[in-house]
Symmetry: C2
Subunit: 208 residues, 2 copies
Amino acid sequence: MTTIRILLVDDHLVVRTGLKALLGTQEDLDVVAEAGSGEEALSAVAASSPDVVIMDLAMGPGMDGIAAIKALRADNPRQPILVFTTYDSDADIVRSVDAGAMGYLLKDAAPEEIFAAVRGAVAGRSHMSAPVASRLFAQLRNPEAVLTPREAELLTLLTQGLSNRELGRSLFISEATVKTHLAHIYAKLGVETRAAAIATAIRREGMR
Amino acid sequence: MTTIRILLVDDHLVVRTGLKALLGTQEDLDVVAEAGSGEEALSAVAASSPDVVIMDLAMGPGMDGIAAIKALRADNPRQPILVFTTYDSDADIVRSVDAGAMGYLLKDAAPEEIFAAVRGAVAGRSHMSAPVASRLFAQLRNPEAVLTPREAELLTLLTQGLSNRELGRSLFISEATVKTHLAHIYAKLGVETRAAAIATAIRREGMR
DNA sequence: CTCCGCCTCAGCCATTTGGCTGATACGGCC
DNA sequence: GGCCGTATCAGCCAAATGGCTGAGGCGGAG
């Protein structure tokens, strides 16, 4: 049995240490490199060409996890990448899978689940924690609730606290159009006011 | 030199493992118990009476970190407690100190800082990570920007997406009063609209 | 006791937002 | 070619929001 060589990417030393300790209990798993940022991750992959990359999404200033995944995939499209993060926001999940992640683990996952996901990733199998999977299924069940690109763009600005006038100016569209988009967004999010939309978006969609 | 007996409280096994590994490198520090929830923390303290409790604030369902601190302090007012968390939100900092925490560490703190904080806590010294301290100082510099209890209460409901009418009903006050409070809140947060207030509150004050 | 901060409420008015209906245009799909 | 989803815009009207001034009660600090 060949050992699986792993790169850990997380901006918290404590998390890296803990993960390394847990993975170290398995004979076939070996952490060969660590990175504290997206930039470091890129050079670490180039230097040690790991079998699997385990990456946190939230990573302080600079390149975030999604961007790092994309960059890694651009260099090597077959590099298996596992997302390992605290939150299961719809937006993060979709963007991660979109960026090319092989799996999506939550930080409260049981060690066995993590081990299985790592081994599976090398074998080409993808894995998601149960709460993550159920969220994805929920999205698939009512695709009409998925925001269009333009709506998502508008929602992002909305959560910055912009008024309709400002939204129009920022996106080079009229206020009328802004109102149309907003009405659609409200319907899809299941809310009736801008305030609730912002609250929902920041909490549920992970727009921070 | 007597060894310092530590209780770790964090709902993530990975974090507990990492922290234990880091603390284990120090001869005088010994993790004698772990807890994955506030409830577990209470019985763990009763069972092993640690010298220091290191506690995460965010802890899944059930009792949160703040409540756990209060409960611990109620049982034993001299129990040193260190908060160890990811975010440095104003609200969390103030509430932690208020609840009786001896220190406030961020999860990206250097190991040496964590060790020093633990040893200091036992000796009766309090410690806060630099970003945390600067936030507290900022609050002290302009006390007029601190929300009154009633305003904070209103802001919490505001971030749930309630309308003025609903806010009034929830707090048993007239809409006129709601508007007065809101005007004060906007001024203190440095925003001009409800939307911006919600965005600011959720992101900066940590109202999730 | 007096002053001040906090909480409460009222009225007025300008602006913003939300709900509605309807319309044009473009691109992909069958 | 026709249909559908997306994006764009208009006009109208009701409701919600924000800015302003003013004011009463109440409790703590000086």
